[in-house]
Amino acid sequence: MPRPPEKIVFAGIVLAFAILPALVTNQGFINVLVNAGIFMLLAIGLNIVVGFAGLLDLGYAAFFAIGSYTYAMCASGQFGLHLPFWPMLVVSALIAALFGIILGAPTLRLRGDYLAIVTLGFGEIVPQTFLNLEQFTGGPNGISAIDSARIGPYVFGLNPVPYYYVVVVLIVLSLIATVNVRDSRLGRAWMALREDEVAAAHMGINTTTAKLAAFALGASFSGLAGVVNAALLTLVSPDEFKFNVSITVLAMLVLGGMGSLTGVVVGSALLSLLNFFVLPQATVIAQQFGLNLDFTNYRFMIYGFILIFIMLFRPEGLIPSGQRKAELRASRVETEST
């Protein structure tokens, strides 16, 4: 179970988010929130791989792509299949988990930099594959006219509000599941693995299955995110899942604090707000003043500055987990003293 402070934070956030659509009538802003929620799900999943098990994965967007395309292929005119949204959430999560294992297996012997490079490669291969498998995926055009979600006769359509509630529920369930796993035999095994793989193996931890479990579980959350993404946009295309998505999600973890669930929530919320709200709004305002500036083009420059400042002044992230904070501080003292 979550410790009391985390519990209160979660409860507060859930309540605030439950009543929010009643206060905000602007559908555009709700759309921003749904997108932020999708990225939060991605961050929660990546945190299992990078934050808990310490496996640096730079190709996480691949699983988001797999989740999105799974729903797109199964619920559109592409193959004439029109499978319903709700069971497809589970199916996509399972398929993404399966690919987590398939793409994780070749990397088991790799650590640190080497692991990062190989996962980076997978992150590029997957969208490229979707681009080239034209007969299944529609190639560069992607798949359009994807079914939107529905509950009985009520079709969600282009209204973001029901998706908003779906995302909030998925996030809450994901956080509960993640806290549970963290405080379990498997969670301890991941942390042991992160700290000392040799010692972990000598405790009877099968490092292969522990790593694959991290890859699988981490990927499954992006399967959920992918389904919501595809149903909301009613469109998927390969260029949605480029390297910048992987980096954005990783930046959310670094900003918030790797391994810290509160940190992941805050970090992803802040970057999403910047991404989907602040920068577009700033652009609109600039244009009102006659400035032809598109701030969204400077997104990665701004990320860069944020990350540099975080690394300099708060390397453990905004809201770190106690353990990670100590690790990062200790390694910094070590580097400084050598």
Partner: protein, 254 residues
């Protein structure tokens, strides 16, 4: 009758360097046995061979009549062989309690699904393992440090925590790699008592140690290694009197 544990002609070569050469030894259940030898004699290599960190180049390692040579470390651990490390390898940023609970990993059964849902079975198991871990911390005298990060413990306590973590897997054979290294005389005396109490729990202890006084006092049998080969074996008094052992430690008489 077959042996509890035996090495049969085990050789380990790293490229051209033969670290362990045709080494055989037998350990009976329930005792405390030691392995000594000058630095670089191959003692730690033997431990690494037993626990599966290295694969033997040739020869066989048998534990309770089952060959374990070439198994992975986690498989060896599951069969009931636990160890500590020469240079302490605790999970430095985990609490002492979590370190010990991690040691119990092998005999826990919670699956991924149990962990995700915190099923009643999983909770009961967590409680059981936590209680057992607290008991083990008390056993090694660290009950007050349960919540402290392993890295913040004093050196001697870290050594004892490593023993508690190893015991958490409920081993039949415990390998201690220089447990007294760097300890002061009073810490050594405590360690000696601790190792004896470990044996009383029914765990066979096999240790590598440099401290001769400690080894001679605690061991029932001693194996002496030099340049990767066994040069002597026997009770402490026999080993102490063996001319080859004296030569290995002090050099040949001029």
């Amino acid at each position: 009758m077959s042996a509890f544990f035996e090495l049969c002609g085990v050789t380990k070569a790293f490229g051209g360097l033969v670290a362990v050469n045709d080494c055989s030894l037998t350990i009976d259940a329930g005792g405390i046995v030691s392995m000594i030898g000058p630095n670089g004699a191959g003692k730690s290599t033997i431990f690494n061979l037993i626990t599966g960190l290295y694969r033997p180049s040739s020869g066989e390692i048998r534990f309770e009549d089952v060959p374990i040579g070439g198994l992975r470390p986690d498989q060896v651990a599951r069969r009931g062989v636990a160890r500590t490390f020469q240079n302490i390898r605790l999970f430095a940023f985990m609490s002492a309690l979590d370190n010990v609970m991690t040691g119990a990993h092998a005999h826990m059964g919670a699956t991924l699904l149990d962990s995700l849902l915190h099923t009643p079975r999983q909770r009961a198991e967590e409680r059981r393992v936590r209680d057992q871990a607290r008991e083990l911390l008390q056993f090694v005298g660290l009950e007050k440090s349960a919540a402290d990060d392993a890295r913040n413990l004093p050196y001697g306590s870290q050594r004892r925590l490593e023993i508690a973590r190893a015991l958490a897997s409920d081993p039949k054979l415990l390998l201690l790699d220089e447990p007294a290294a760097g300890m002061n005389p009073s810490e050594k005396a405590e360690l000696l008592a601790l190792v004896r109490r470990v044996r009383e729990r029914g765990v066979t202890v096999f240790l590598i140690e440099h401290d001769m006084a400690l080894v001679m006092e605690i061991s029932e049998r001693i194996t002496v290694l030099d340049h990767g080969e066994k040069i002597a074996e026997g009770r402490p008094a026999e080993v102490r009197a063996d001319p080859r052992v004296i030569e290995a430690y002090l050099g040949a008489p001029a």
